[in-house]
Symmetry: C2
Subunit: 203 residues, 2 copies
């Protein structure tokens, strides 16, 4: 059975969400988002930097949420969540899937580090301000693209698992503004999905 | 014909490299890595943030280097550079492909911004130091993985186009140390490929 190594408030939520959307059975190793769990020798044997998510499937151990989404959709169940290469929406599926880690997550990581993870005396307001401006810039093209669409490729897909989750995080950090009407509606649509709620409220 | 919008010293080098490795014909729009080109109205019509690479193929315009690599390998020519889903190396192809933007490029971006792009009076030595430490950490698992391997999945693949290029950048920023013997040899192997040289010396 698929075994997911998980901690709350992390990219591991993407994988729980995907597994729930697909209705696949899985085993969950719930850890705390804390060095005592993530940097333990046990978890470092799975991922040398103690990161999550990590997926185990028989003799395969795989990291990186984007790779794990691909892995599940291609080796276990597609469920209509990944278009075929010939599908006219496939290029935009790829683009927005990769836009998640390429453009949106780097400033989110910095904001989380500078507002939550670092002790107050080590925080850097200059780095925080740069990241907040960069995140606002990175969200604008998503807002424009979503005009008239319910999801990134119109129907719900793996691109929403990645970038929708990143937009949810951006919104929680206060970066989705009222003027981004299409993006705000999209975040509401994504977070209103019952399987998203299951994944995100999991502790 | 495929048309690539390019500027030197950027992720666009990955796409030139891939196109050259595959022997595919393409047209190149060479721009300077400078706001006068990248932030021009003409280029912003292709990518709202004025980023590169951008690939055009008839009625498709697609950004994000990872998405473009997928696009070319799946819609134009595989050339043995992407394993099939059933291939035992496919999960690690996915993992290292995504590790590039997920783990290695974010600190590289910060280092480039803090040492090259920002004017000296706006640079932030704290942010620079954090990024340099993070990059060193992110490189360690690649070094370990490469022990006994010529390339990430043993044979040359699209994962090397992504992560190999990122390792080349990390090395140029001085983050590949002498102790990382497998990674240093890998960077030499990657950068010694004639098509890599064609891509990287293109101005």
């Amino acid at each position: 059975m698929l075994k997911l190594h998980f901690a709350p408030n992390s990219r591991a939520g993407r994988i729980v969400w995907l597994l729930e959307e697909l209705g696949l059975p899985y085993e969950l190793n719930k850890m705390d988002f804390h060095p005592k769990d993530l940097k333990s020798a046990e978890h470092r044997a799975r991922h040398p930097l103690g990161r999550i998510p990590v997926l185990e499937d028989d003799d395969v151990t795989i990291w990186e949420s984007g790779a794990i989404v691909e892995y599940i959709l291609e080796r276990h169940k597609n469920g209509g969540l990944k278009p075929t290469v010939e599908d006219p929406m496939w290029p935009m599926y790829q683009q927005w899937f990769h836009y998640c880690e390429g453009m949106v997550m780097p400033p989110i990581n910095t904001i989380v580090v500078q507002t939550i993870l670092l002790p107050e005396d080590r925080r850097d307001p200059v780095a925080l301000g740069q990241a907040q401006r960069l995140l606002t810039k990175a969200l604008a093209p998503i807002n424009d693209w979503l005009e008239g669409k319910d999801y990134l490729i119109e129907r719900f897909s793996g691109a929403d698992i990645m970038l929708g989750h990143a937009c949810f995080m951006a919104n929680r950090l206060g970066s989705v503004t009222d003027e981004m009407t299409h993006l705000a509606a999209y975040v509401e649509r994504v977070t209103g999905r019952p399987h998203f709620q299951t994944a995100i409220t999991m502790a």
